[in-house]
Point group: none
Chain length 229, copies 4
Amino acid sequence: MSSPASGRPEVHGAGSLVDERQVRALPVTARGQRTRESLVAAARQVFERDGFINSRLTDIAREARTSIGTFYTYFDSKDEIFTAVLQVAQDDMLHPGLPRVEEDPQNIAAVLEASNRAYFEAYRRNAQLMVLLEQVATINPDFRDLRIQRAKVFTTRVMRWVESMQESGVADRSLDPLMTSRALTSMVSRLAYYSFALGEEWDVEAMVETSTKLWFNALGMTLPGPTAD
Amino acid sequence: MSSPASGRPEVHGAGSLVDERQVRALPVTARGQRTRESLVAAARQVFERDGFINSRLTDIAREARTSIGTFYTYFDSKDEIFTAVLQVAQDDMLHPGLPRVEEDPQNIAAVLEASNRAYFEAYRRNAQLMVLLEQVATINPDFRDLRIQRAKVFTTRVMRWVESMQESGVADRSLDPLMTSRALTSMVSRLAYYSFALGEEWDVEAMVETSTKLWFNALGMTLPGPTAD
Amino acid sequence: MSSPASGRPEVHGAGSLVDERQVRALPVTARGQRTRESLVAAARQVFERDGFINSRLTDIAREARTSIGTFYTYFDSKDEIFTAVLQVAQDDMLHPGLPRVEEDPQNIAAVLEASNRAYFEAYRRNAQLMVLLEQVATINPDFRDLRIQRAKVFTTRVMRWVESMQESGVADRSLDPLMTSRALTSMVSRLAYYSFALGEEWDVEAMVETSTKLWFNALGMTLPGPTAD
Amino acid sequence: MSSPASGRPEVHGAGSLVDERQVRALPVTARGQRTRESLVAAARQVFERDGFINSRLTDIAREARTSIGTFYTYFDSKDEIFTAVLQVAQDDMLHPGLPRVEEDPQNIAAVLEASNRAYFEAYRRNAQLMVLLEQVATINPDFRDLRIQRAKVFTTRVMRWVESMQESGVADRSLDPLMTSRALTSMVSRLAYYSFALGEEWDVEAMVETSTKLWFNALGMTLPGPTAD
DNA sequence: TATGAATGAGCCTTCATTCAT
DNA sequence: TATGAATGAAGGCTCATTCAT
């Protein structure tokens, strides 16, 4: 129903987390831009294949058909190119918007469902990168912060939504909004992780259905009646 | 009914996952045993301080006040001593508390609550180790398998319980038991992770209360009535 | 008649035994080629001075006035640079001088003598390397095979020659050609070994004369008469 | 024919080369002697299996079912136990005696044949040890000297015999006795090496026959006539 | 900009030898 | 005598980073 294109009323939508300010200016010449792009593409490939830790800059340079010297023309370190790789995926993971707070539970369920579906689809497309971020976050505090920040944005948005649901009397008011939204976002992100990153390969529609139902139930919402669905 | 044959009635309870067979024979002399133990203790300390990847064997040896040669007397590699470290924590993560399947939802809630509480407490005691396992799992397939296996055991137990709840009509029968239990266990483990591993330091009782309520709601169970609580 | 198709009429002549395929591409720049060459030269020096086993890669690097890192830019291991060292000496050990099978024993003796002389001279130039190969062959099966292969080629050529001598009635037909040629090649190679490698430093001309006479006699050939010599 | 038992007139017979003086006194107690013996036996086994260089003292101790500490009770080093291992084989390789100088070439041939046969048989029994000595000789000057010394004794004995043959007019007087005997002993020792150590597994009788014939011919001796044999 | 050779700190691993019990 | 734990020098190898061309 509500798609990113139509006003973007989603639950999980998150803003950009990777700092948009370039550490260094992008190359001016077209040739330079091409070289940089091929390095980023090669890096993503190598990272996804070997993991961040087991990857070597020489491999990235070779994969990009350039030299290691050229690598350092565009990036200062492995961390920096990893940031660049993440940035590419960033836009794809951005699917902002929250379901409008409507009295009609039927509509709420539909928006929630669409939002979860969008999240799972985006995760699917970037699963390997998510695993990578997971890995790098265990080593590098900067990326750990990035990952926490990312989760926080999601959680905060959901929290706002939960609060509005509670205020309008649709959701169970006795639930702590923050902890609840943390729990609910964890639920979908882990589901996505197991399915796409660890390769359990579940049916996306089943995931969407189950998670939507669980959210709905968990918040103490009820579908309008036996006629629903 | 839903409890394992061994008589351990737990929701989250897991059997030993770290292979109990010693890779090499334990030292014969008391002195040797002491040295081995001090190495394991030192390793845990160093791992928790520096992370698995950034730790060096020489640091572990120094911390244990032995030589690097002595390290190799007892362990073949960093991986091997990490396994030993995990083994120490293993028993602690085994915990009791499975809710008996009773018709009385009140009682179910109480047992579920106890079970979740026990899980959170155990996680709290071993949080840093869990983070470590998370890290090592991103690099080493063996530990990734261990981690997946660990999650699977938890999920399976919860799944059995969910199924029995569905059979007895207490829980929503339209929910897929496997996916649901995966979602529910993810919820608590991530909550624990954020709180204890990432240092968000929430109140355990609040976590217990919220997660129990969410499970309860999510499964479509209802407390007896307004008199409850 | 007994000469190989390639037109190389030798008794001891051997083809290339060290695999010519480069394990890794040769350096592109002139500078790189110079460095690689200096490493090979340094390795030969260090190997001859300290033996293969007692040599250290750091010594080779230092001798070549480079860093250990540079060593690994060009070679993967001690074995690999040893192969490169052997390759340099390879061409030198290929030498001409196969006696044509003529009825005239006088001539046979002369060609045989020339062939043996060439062998001894080549051995003298590469004696230390031969000792090294001997050493490495006792540890590493690959080099043992190389050494056996080398000996086999020599033996086979001599065997062909012996057979042709037997066929033309010049040599004793009751001798087993294979065993006989193994014995005869062993004779000269050991003589060379004792003289040049172990430093007994005999007069080459005396060695040539004696070995030629022994081969001649052993095969039951006779010089034309008392006027010979 | 003259056998080792009957006055031992052999060609290759050599005296003891391993210094008989014990580096340390043999153990006094019977138990100590047993331990020492089992260590030597274990060492031979391990050396033959792994080579001298790749063998470890701990393996020898384990194979002997004792501790490394006990090893050092009886031996100071790997070299020392290797010496002890060689000593055991020494007696077996000792088969002294030279063919009596007789005018009758028929008899000479017979003695020579018996002598060569005895040599090959002894070599066969100790082939692996000979390979080991070869290896150790490339690393350790002491053992290189031992090996050279060993060869020298053989060569000297043969040289004496060759000289006597020349003096009595049986052998070609134009041959240099030293170089000739070096050549002839090399011939049989290498034949033995290829057959027993490198596993070419030739028929011993064929080796005996061929080498005897070659020696005979090479020295310019002739069997009494067409009636011979 | 592009290249790729050069660098060396840093970490791992082995195993002969010592020594306390 | 026997044991086996403890030691650490020695050497192998990696790879991010620098730099001359």
